[in-house]
């Protein structure tokens, strides 16, 4: 046996491996580049402007004389517009609550009982195309002289008492965001093996016990993700309070932002409200993504 040198491959230093890894990384980066550029240009670049504008006085950002720097807008946000933020959170919270109460049973029926669930899902997605249509539709139905008038007359209730009210705003918001809840909860439910429910039933568990002890823990992530998503979407609510709300509901930050920015051209204050809403939306989106990932994995 002649002593031939052994050429055993040493992990991590095989010839050409490092080059291939580098090329793969560069290819990956090149494929991502268009998305990164588009995001930076059309998403983050405008955001930089918005933040910058929020530190300028009124409409001076666009004035020929140049912007006047100020912290007043954030002061006004703290001293004057916190109630508006409160109303926004209140409406979003109530809409989330309504969606939770009706969305979980609906998702259960959809996943477990409905045979043609794709058709049902397709119909459900419709509201997501426009909160404005929903609000206009509801206003048309509820306005005096509208289709619901005979019903109001039957119970001797003035149309406007229902139309311009907190419940009508929350109801319209809930309809718009309902699919977010059902889809998240539905996805989580699909991952739960139905035999677990059958086993629980065989062992004598009542339906509510099965729900509380089996389904709720196993779909928790989907429920939380759905709730956060509904809440996040509802923070920017605009059309429903405008068309259906009383003066109190019309205080939502998105509507106030519109009034300040578009009607009164106070871009500084409007963008400050936008920054606050964006910060809120970011936090909610972060948690919703975190939990929805959990829903899919679990």
């Amino acid at each position: 046996m002649t002593g031939q040198p052994l050429s055993l491959p040493i992990p991590g230093v095989a010839p050409g491996t490092a080059r291939r890894e580098r090329r793969r990384a560069l290819t990956g980066l090149a494929m991502l580049l268009p998305a990164i550029v588009v995001s930076l240009l059309f998403l983050y670049y405008p955001l930089v402007f918005i933040v910058q504008m929020s530190f300028t006085l009124a409409n001076t950002f666009l004035s020929p004389a140049g912007p006047t720097a100020t912290l007043e807008n954030y002061g006004a946000m703290l001293n004057r517009y916190l109630p508006n933020l409160g109303v926004t959170i209140q409406l979003a919270g109530l809409a989330t609550l309504v969606d939770l109460v009706f969305g979980i049973p609906f998702a259960y029926i959809l996943v477990r009982k409905v045979r043609y669930r794709d058709i049902v899902r397709a119909f459900m997605v419709f509201p997501m195309f426009g909160a404005l249509y929903i609000a206009f539709g509801m206003r048309f139905i509820l306005l005096p002289g509208g289709p619901a008038t005979p019903l109001f007359e039957l119970f001797n209730i003035p149309n406007t008492a229902v139309l311009y009210s907190l419940p009508s705003v929350v109801f319209a918001m809930s309809i718009f965001t309902f699919p977010f809840m059902v889809m998240n909860v539905g996805t989580a439910l699909s991952n739960v093996d139905p035999t677990l429910e059958e086993a629980a039933a065989c062992l004598g568990a009542r339906p509510w016990q099965t729900f509380v002890r089996i389904l709720l823990p196993l779909t928790r992530a989907g429920i939380v993700a759905g709730a956060l998503m509904v809440f996040g979407w509802s923070l920017g609510t605009f059309a429903e309070p405008l068309l259906l709300g009383s003066v109190n509901e019309q205080k939502t930050l998105a509507w106030t932002l519109y009034l300040k920015g578009v009607v009164q051209t106070d871009y500084g204050l409007a963008t400050t409200m936008g920054v606050v809403l964006l910060a809120f939306a970011f936090v909610v989106t972060y948690f919703s993504l975190r939990y929805s990932r959990g829903a899919l994995i679990e």
Binding site: G66, K251, V263
Partner: protein, 419 residues
């Protein structure tokens, strides 16, 4: 292992993001720096064109008819910013036909309509700030916006111009030579009410009557509808709208006495019409044109227009923004819009309601004969006479208004719970 890798790429990504953010912040800083002003607009002196030519101030040229036709064909496009009229499509059709007949050119004509004209100003300022051409050729919006745009150096001079001969038909009261001219004479925020249900309404202060509890609408805070309403109320109360402190007193009185009667704060005319017709509201605050629309709708014969003792008109004015890309067509449009047959579009195939939206009073004596036969009997129930226009309508100092309005409008929003 996975966590470590994520951490590593995360830190790289963080560094990349931070660097990018700094670059973009720097770029944004550059973008936000004030652009050098474009120099003063040329002042238009009296038209002094050579024989056979027309003096076109805004381009500072004497042009022959052929040159004008050539310029129209070359421009070939016009964008007008106005309100949302029911007859917008007809307006576009009529003007395109007019250009075709008079100048032999087919043009693209975009007629933008918005009930919040401040949107136009935002777009205009942003374009001018970025050194871009104006997105609009003609602004046809309320006088206060012209005043604001003037203070932002955003308006071009175009009067007098041989392309706008109809200027001479318009009373001096409705002209701001060289930059704008009124195309309305009697537009004002007003109260429209049900005559049988609120017969006691004789002044704006009467909106405080307890019989109107939950039965009135007021304008949403912020825009000129609310501003005009408060100007009228201030006049009734003997307060000076130029003094923000006095306007605050007006708002305080309104909040204490009228606000409790409010059913809804809205500037949506279709909602107001439905509330009025159904009896859910007895009085709505909008523009005086709503009374005519109700009259012509045939659905509400009881709607009346409240004429306050002092009327501050907030008329629409025609002006050309600095950097408008189609200045010749812009002037042709302005002249056309001021023509008696367009101010009173009696020959257009439109109903009486849309007609009454487009026609907003006499701009001068040459228009008086244009009142159509079908409206002769009731015209002066909805429009003032030329004498009334000259004597009873007050003029607004828009500079003073714009200086104080933010303060007291904000107060109005606060006191009425609108934010």
């Amino acid at each position: 292992m996975i966590q470590r890798m994520n951490g590593k790429s995360g830190s790289r990504f963080g560094a990349l993001l931070a660097a990018t953010a700094m670059v973009f912040a720097a770029c944004a800083g550059l973008g936000a720096s004030p652009t050098p002003s474009a120099g003063a607009a040329p002042q238009c002196g009296p038209a002094n064109a050579a024989a056979g030519t027309k003096h076109v101030c805004i381009v500072n040229k004497n042009m022959t008819d052929d040159e004008i036709k050539s310029a129209v064909a070359k421009e070939g496009n016009l964008v007008v910013a106005n309100w949302t009229y029911t007859a917008n499509d007809e307006l576009v059709k009529q003007f395109k036909a007019y250009v075709k007949t008079t100048y032999g050119a087919d043009i693209q004509f975009t007629y933008e309509g918005s009930q919040a004209p401040s949107v136009y100003l935002t777009k205009l300022y942003a374009a001018q700030k970025g050194g871009n051409p104006s997105p609009y050729d003609v602004m046809a919006i309320e006088e206060n916006y012209w005043s604001e745009a003037m203070s932002n150096n955003a308006v071009d001079s175009y009067l007098p111009s041989d392309l706008v001969p109809n200027q001479k038909l318009v009373l001096d009261t409705f002209q701001h030579v060289p930059t704008s001219i009124g195309f309305q004479s009697t537009a004002f925020p007003a109260v429209v009410y049900e005559g049988s249900k609120a017969p006691f309404l004789k002044s704006l202060k009467d909106l405080a009557n307890p019989a109107l509890k939950g039965k009135i609408t007021l304008p949403v805070s912020g825009d000129i509808t609310a501003g005009g309403f408060l100007l009228g109320l201030a006049a009734e109360m003997g307060k000076d709208y130029k003094d923000p402190a006095q306007m605050k007193e007006v708002v305080d009185w309104m909040a204490a006495n009228i606000a409790p009667n409010v059913l809804k704060y809205t500037s949506d005319s279709s909602e107001m019409q439905q509330l009025l017709r159904s009896g859910a509201a007895y009085a709505v605050t909008f523009w005086n044109s709503l009374a005519r629309l109700e009259y012509f709708s045939g659905k509400n014969n009881d709607a009346k227009l409240l004429l306050p003792s002092a009327i501050y008109p907030v008329n629409g004015y025609l002006w050309i923004p600095r950097g408008a890309p189609h200045p010749v067509l812009a002037q042709i449009f302005i002249n056309w819009r001021l023509g008696p047959d367009v101010q009173f579009p009696n020959k257009w195939p439109i109903d009486h309601g849309p007609w009454s939206e487009l026609s907003e009073g006499f701009l001068g004596p040459d228009y008086v004969s244009q009142v159509p036969d079908w409206f002769t009997k009731d015209y002066f129930s909805y429009f003032p006479t030329l004498d009334q226009i000259k004597t009873q309508f007050k003029t607004v100092d828009w500079d003073a208004y714009n200086k104080g309005v933010k303060q007291w409008m904000d107060y109005y929003a606060q006191k009425t719970g609108q934010g």
